[in-house]
Symmetry: C2
């Protein structure tokens, strides 16, 4: 990119992930969020097999309909990784072995304490003639940047962590430095999270706000995520001061349900609150099987507040570790308000934490009775030795969905109880 | 579709899921598996915003490069659902209110015990002139089928359960009935799982087998998933008896690392083994934060073998619940072979299970020392009161990746120990 170009619309082509679409999914998500937060628009996402013709056609399509294209995947060392070759053919250039790239690949292996480097990894050191090599700090496949039809093409590795790191550290700076899109033509997108409210309620309560924003040239999208509604607003850069008004109004409308801006998650929101209040917690999980603990510990630094989770999936473990009385289990059943309280009490007492959360329910498909359907979940939060808050939920969906909603609703319930109790 | 057409390559366009790509992800997965199992090829997947121009361009692209197109999403009742309108414009037809469609929509509301039907749902009863209406048994948005450029276009709703049901009950029968592709041109795809082996090793060891299959007209793909390599083989229907040979040979090559066919996961593989041997287990997790327990309990019926997991994230909980001696933690540290053994021992003893698995490591980004880098994970499996197996791992990547690899490697380690110990 010698001259500055107008770049606004960017296409994304994910290669070779048609079966493992989890990778494509992550990379589309990452690209949309990262690029749109810098004012670019991801206008087309294509997912294609490891197939020469399909890769080339998808890239050409994105170039015709946009200003730049980012390709993820197909840069691995195996026979079916053909992105390098396909793009070299498209731009009619040779592949050249780069000694610098090979040194970096060897370095990655050394970092992983692997002494014998497979010869076939040399394939990853082949760079398209004239392309700029982009350094991959987290994996073996180097990225590349080249021009075609006077538009930039970026080749990035498929694994989402590598893709994201290189998108932020290599692609965005190149785009910002070498493009001349007037800032008035750029947009910024921001997301606001609202926990535990139905989509229709959120839509209704924000009708007026939405109309105001649309009149101001904004684009307003509602996303229903598990136990979370995200309102995404895209505004011209010139109108970005409106974001603060929107945040203020949403807080006013949704009170404790409002989590904040920029895609803050329910677990992050709990951790920030607990850190501010210097509180420690532990969980007692049954039907969620460890998912609540997993979601909290995805966040770096969570050990500051989170001590652990007793996943007492069987009644035996509920008795052994949490000292849930046999009589309670017998009289009320494992999925009951009483058992939830006993679990929370046990976790708080034996884990010696300030507060605790217990989740017990029926994730299905089996285990339901006439009074206790699949999706019934009881939760309890222990605030002191004798003070508890409980809540009953009915979650729709299949096992996986019920587990996820229950874990998030539990974490959100603990957050609300801490806010209300003014601990 | 009056005359029989040759249909092999099908494009998929997912509308309006650029931020909530989970939906697109599911639908791509569903479409690929369903259509490829019937011998069709999904050659392009596009994901576009709720944007007139982008929808039309993506559909045209798929029609030019394929024999049919399936569109998912954008058939809802809200302001941002515009797929109907975009396709009507593309094919230059009007939208006509269908009383039959409206009756069905009302029926769906009655089934959900909702008596007041929002007026905005009338939008969903608008059908493109000349299109065949496809009945949606699970949701309010009817599907449509129409011809353009002498190729079929299918409009299906976005929610994955509705999409899948209509794909199977409406689209596949239409495609099979109205197309003339000879069955010899059809393919079947099967996947085989190999746990814990590097991608390059799997490729090398299957070089000869791959060549045999390619000579037989097959397509061979390697997918590197977390701690799992999947070999996917696509064979002409006429050659499907070869799948058994492949399975037999892979078992011979990879022994205990071979999990089985058809996308069997590592946790499923452990549960099948434990059920056969009538064994019970529990986990003691530290760095994985509950993820190992979560992965096991994603599988219905896991409670048969899995009793629970003590997520002892802090040292306090390691001492309180697992009785890890203070001296062990002080002398060797939380991430050590000795602590892993003590955790496994405590979980097995106090959980009263046949076997137990302990995982302790450094997920990062902080917590590393000169001798203990980020990614170091110690595991222990307790087989009897005094018999243990331990293993040290180094995992590359960021926190999320390290957690996922450690949880899967732990579950796989337990599986291998059970197989070797002949319990």
């Amino acid at each position: 990119m010698r001259e500055k170009k107008y770049i606004n619309k960017i296409g994304l082509v994910c290669v070779g992930s048609e079966l493992f679409s989890h990778v494509a999914n992550s990379n589309i998500h990452i690209a949309t969020r990262v690029l749109e937060s810098h004012g670019f628009e991801v206008n087309h996402n294509a997912i294609v097999h490891d197939n020469f013709e399909n890769i080339i056609k998808a890239v050409e399509f994105c170039l015709i309909n946009g200003d730049a294209v980012i390709i993820s995947g197909g840069l691995g060392p195996t026979f079916d990784d053909i992105t390098r070759e396909a793009i070299a053919q498209l731009v009619n250039k040779r592949l050249i072995f780069s000694m610098d790239a090979w040194h970096e690949i060897q370095e990655r292996f050394r970092e992983r304490k692997i002494s014998i480097i497979p010869d076939r990894n040399k394939k990853q050191a082949m760079i398209i003639e004239g392309a700029k090599r982009l350094i991959n700090k987290l994996g073996t496949a180097p990225g590349m940047m080249l021009d075609y039809m006077e538009k930039p093409i970026f080749l990035l590795p498929g694994p989402p962590v590598e893709f994201e790191e290189m998108l932020i550290s290599c692609v965005v700076p190149e785009l910002l430095e070498n493009t001349c899109s007037a800032s008035t033509q750029r947009y910024i997108r921001k997301g606001f999270g609202i926990a535990g409210e139905p989509e229709a309620v959120v839509e209704e309560k924000t009708d007026i706000l939405r109309e105001e924003m649309v009149c101001a040239g904004g684009e307003w999208t509602i996303l229903a995520l598990p136990y979370l509604i995200e309102l995404w607003l895209k505004l011209p850069v010139s109108k970005q001061s409106l974001f603060d008004n929107v945040e203020f109004k949403l807080k006013e409308i949704f009170k404790d349900s409002f989590l904040g801006a920029n895609g803050i998650s329910i677990p992050e929101s709990l951790l920030i609150l607990m850190k501010n209040k210097k509180l420690s917690c532990c969980f007692a999980e049954s039907c969620t099987g460890g998912l609540a603990g997993h979601l909290i510990t995805e966040i770096p630094g969570s050990s500051y507040c989170f001590n652990g989770s007793i996943v007492a999936y069987s009644n035996k473990l509920k008795k052994k570790f949490l000292k849930v009385p046999k009589t309670v289990l017998k009289k009320y059943g494992a999925v009951s308000e009483e058992t939830a309280i006993a679990m929370a009490k046990g976790a708080r007492k034996y884990g010696r934490t300030d507060v605790s959360l217990a989740i017990t329910g029926i994730a299905g498909p089996s285990g339901a009775t006439a009074e206790k359907p699949v999706g019934l979940v009881w939760m309890a939060v222990a605030i002191t030795n004798s003070k508890f808050k409980t809540r009953k939920f009915y979650f729709a969906g299949k096992r996986t969905t019920i587990k996820l909603r229950a874990a998030l609703a539990g974490i959100d319930f603990l957050r609300r109880v801490i806010m209300e109790s003014r601990l």
